[in-house]
């Protein structure tokens, strides 16, 4: 184990970089699966923050919250991929800007 901890600023910056890349992916890509993967990246960036502050306070609560976020990510991925499968069966497309059934 390291004798001193790295300043939490570093972890904040890493988390910010991953979060921004994830947001760019969600906003600019057309493929729904890549949008879902970018959401996973965003959730992962949040987890880094939680664990870094959990280490800073010497407390395990942040890690418990990170576990709950991973649980949510799993549930979201399962349901999202189920929706993508059902949609692909009906429309034969994966592009988010062609999903306009409710638009007129």
């Amino acid at each position: 184990m390291a004798p001193t901890m790295i300043s939490p600023d570093y972890y904040l910056m890493l988390s910010l970089a991953l979060f921004t890349i994830g947001v760019i992916g969600v906003l600019t890509r057309r493929n729904v699966i890549i949008i879902l993967m970018s959401i996973e990246l965003i959730l992962n960036a949040v987890n880094i923050n939680l664990v870094a502050f959990s280490r800073l306070w010497g407390d395990v609560n942040g890690q418990v919250f990170a576990i709950f976020i991973i649980t949510d990510a799993a549930a979201e991925a399962a349901v999202g991929l189920g929706i993508i499968l059902a949609f692909f069966r009906n429309r034969e497309t994966l592009l988010a800007d062609e999903m306009d059934l409710l638009k007129w």
Partner: protein, 166 residues
């Protein structure tokens, strides 16, 4: 210093493969780059003395969620989609807005630097898994049960969604 080297290694690996994930044309390549990012994050967790989360990240994220993603990609992958335009019409505006958002948070971090307490090494319990389990089954008992119900609901929902005829 050694710990900084380790941190920079994992951080650069995570950020680089995240950028690759967002920009690749082939979805399978994107999935593999996302796996690399998640493994690098697991390394960061290990550096932060979160051994249990390190294992959970590898088993659940990489071994579970990403396998699910790859399966779905294999079910729906179209060769035509490789030749289409990969970014949507509002990509420049959206990218600029996302970068502005990142810049705002960055400025907020820089301004609020003094707010964070100086990092002193508080002693973590050497039995990380035991401490997490202790917190999970005493103080966080109700959220734990709600999370299990959420997983049950998501499981049923995924089965119903993916079924051919309901």
């Amino acid at each position: 210093m050694f710990s900084h080297t380790v941190f920079y290694f994992f951080a650069l690996l995570a950020v680089a493969s995240a950028i690759m994930m967002v920009t690749r044309r082939n979805i399978i390549h994107s999935a593999v780059y996302l796996i690399t990012t998640l493994l690098a994050t697991a390394g960061i967790f290990l550096q932060l003395d979160a051994e249990f989360l390190f294992v959970v990240q590898i088993i659940l994220y990489v071994g579970g969620i990403m396998v699910l993603f790859v399966f779905v990609i294999m079910l729906v992958n179209l060769d035509v989609s490789l030749r289409l335009v990969q970014f949507n019409h509002q990509r420049f505006v959206a990218g600029a807005l996302a970068l502005i958002l990142g810049g705002q948070v960055f400025i907020a971090f820089r301004v609020g630097r003094g707010v964070l307490p100086h990092p002193v090494l508080r002693s973590m319990s050497p039995k990380n898994t035991e401490a997490v389990g202790d917190a999970l089954f005493t103080h966080y008992m109700l959220p734990f049960e709600i999370a299990s119900i959420l997983l049950l609901v998501a499981m049923i929902g995924a089965v119903v969604m993916a079924k051919r005829r309901v």
